[in-house]
């Protein structure tokens, strides 16, 4: 089970923060197919947010095929979902090697983040604000 958190200053809508946290947990292998997500009441009780917001997040995950609601039981990670945790060990180790290399070349953390953002933009063509959207 994961626990949601909220960053009220992020500017990212609340329901989307919940969606992104589930996706992130899937990517990191913290959630697996069949795992149950917190019930609406549990999320409401921990975060003091509107239950409609939680339902909206779960509907969005359902629409993207990542989770499915089971009547009377709750919401579960779908058996076949598009986000499988990649073979992270190799990739992560490679990334750590690269960051060490950047560090010995005189880069500080901000430089590394800026380089990473520029490189992802070159490959994916999207703008990610790595500084803010840590969700």
């Amino acid at each position: 089970m994961i626990e949601f958190r909220l960053d009220p200053r992020s500017g990212v809508p609340t329901y989307l923060q919940l969606v992104l946290q589930v996706k992130q947990a899937l990517r990191l292998g913290m959630l697996h197919p069949g795992d149950q997500l917190p019930t609406v009441k549990e999320v409401v009780a921990t975060l003091a947010i509107n239950p409609n917001t939680v339902l909206k997040a779960y509907r969005e995950l359902d629409r993207e095929g990542l989770a499915e609601g089971r009547r009377g039981q709750g919401t579960f990670i779908a058996a076949k979902n598009a986000i499988a945790p990649p073979d992270r060990s190799g990739l992560a180790a490679g990334l750590v090697r690269w960051i060490r290399q950047a560090q010995s070349a005189g880069c500080d953390e901000d430089d590394v983040v800026a380089l990473f953002a520029a490189a992802t933009h070159e490959v994916f063509g999207t703008h990610q604000d790595f500084g803010r959207r840590s969700a």
């Binding site: 009220p8 809508p13 003091a48 509107n50 239950p51 917001t53």
Partner: protein, 291 residues
């Protein structure tokens, strides 16, 4: 989504002063709607119209399909009202307050009230006057919830509470929404809280409705444009300029964007809901916009 509350072209005059002028809005069934505005904007007047404490000078108010003034036996038992400052009788014990609620309300659920207060560790034998502000707010909420209402109307319910009591109060209110398909309309000054708990927003200023709609849509459609001075007209032809600030070097526009903003001359930024609301609060009354 159908509307639990409908306000059509409502005006309310007290003597020579108009508290509300030509207000039109809907509160969708099942929504948690925030009513935001400065002091004196007419928030309390609007809420009192919904619970039948006063009647409109002009226009029509309907709650759950009927008028709270002309059809009170149909409407009032189905509305829970938490008034500003939670007016409870300080000399009564909590269980005596419940007894009052039981006598006055045909749909009263005594065990719901008692369980609700027990879960929140509020002693039923204590006098109301001896409770903390947060506990009094919880008692006021329990009294409203025990009516098993379909619509809850709350006037500044958390304004006087400390941050922890405020969070606990909103938690309780949201649990009630999760358990029993309530429609909620609450007025508040506390924008940060509203963003957390509300999904719809009504901005009231100078006696009129300045902005109404789903919070996600409002947040998604407003942008801050920063650019060279004097280019405002071109933007205003496509998008709606809510608020403009000018310096000799720079123009800053808060716009309600009509689709995407594509213009290389402007730096485009997301805006926090709080800044959107503040921009509408600064507008003149003749600039109304509906979502």
């Amino acid at each position: 989504m159908s509307a639990a509350v409908t306000v059509e072209q409502v005006s309310k005059r007290y003597g020579a002063r108009w508290a509300l002028q030509d207000c039109t809005l809907e509160v969708p069934t099942g929504s948690v709607t925030a009513l935001v505005g400065p002091n004196g904007a007419g928030k309390t007047t609007l809420l009192h119209l919904l619970v039948g404490l006063t009647e409109p000078t002009e226009g029509r108010v309907s709650v759950l399909g009927a008028s709270p003034r002309t059809d009170p036996t149909h409407v009032l038992p189905r509305i829970g009202f938490v008034a500003q400052d939670h007016p409870l009788e300080p000399r009564f014990r909590v269980d005596e307050m419940l007894a009052v609620g039981r006598r006055l309300n045909p749909r009263w659920d005594e065990s719901l009230a008692r369980d609700w207060l027990r879960e929140r560790q509020i002693p039923l034998a204590d006098r109301v006057g001896a409770l903390s502000g947060g506990q009094r707010a919880q008692v006021a909420l329990a009294l409203a919830i025990a009516k098993r209402p379909e619509v809850m109307v709350l006037d500044e319910p958390a304004a006087a509470l400390d941050p922890l009591a405020r969070r606990e109060f909103l938690q309780s209110l949201m649990e009630a929404v999760a358990e029993r398909e309530l429609t909620v309309l609450m007025s508040s000054h506390l924008l940060a809280d509203l963003e957390r708990v509300c999904d719809h927003l009504v901005v009231l200023a100078a006696g009129g409705v300045q902005l109404v709609g789903p919070i996600d849509e409002i947040a998604a459609s407003h942008r801050l444009l920063v650019g060279p001075p004097g280019d405002e007209q071109a933007v205003a032809r496509v998008h709606q300029v809510v608020h403009a600030r000018h310096t000799p070097r720079q123009t800053t526009l808060l716009v309600r964007a009509n689709g995407h903003v594509y213009d290389a001359r402007w730096q485009i930024e997301d805006v926090a809901l709080e800044d959107v609301v503040l921009a509408y609060l600064q507008r003149r009354p003749d600039q109304e916009v509906a979502a």
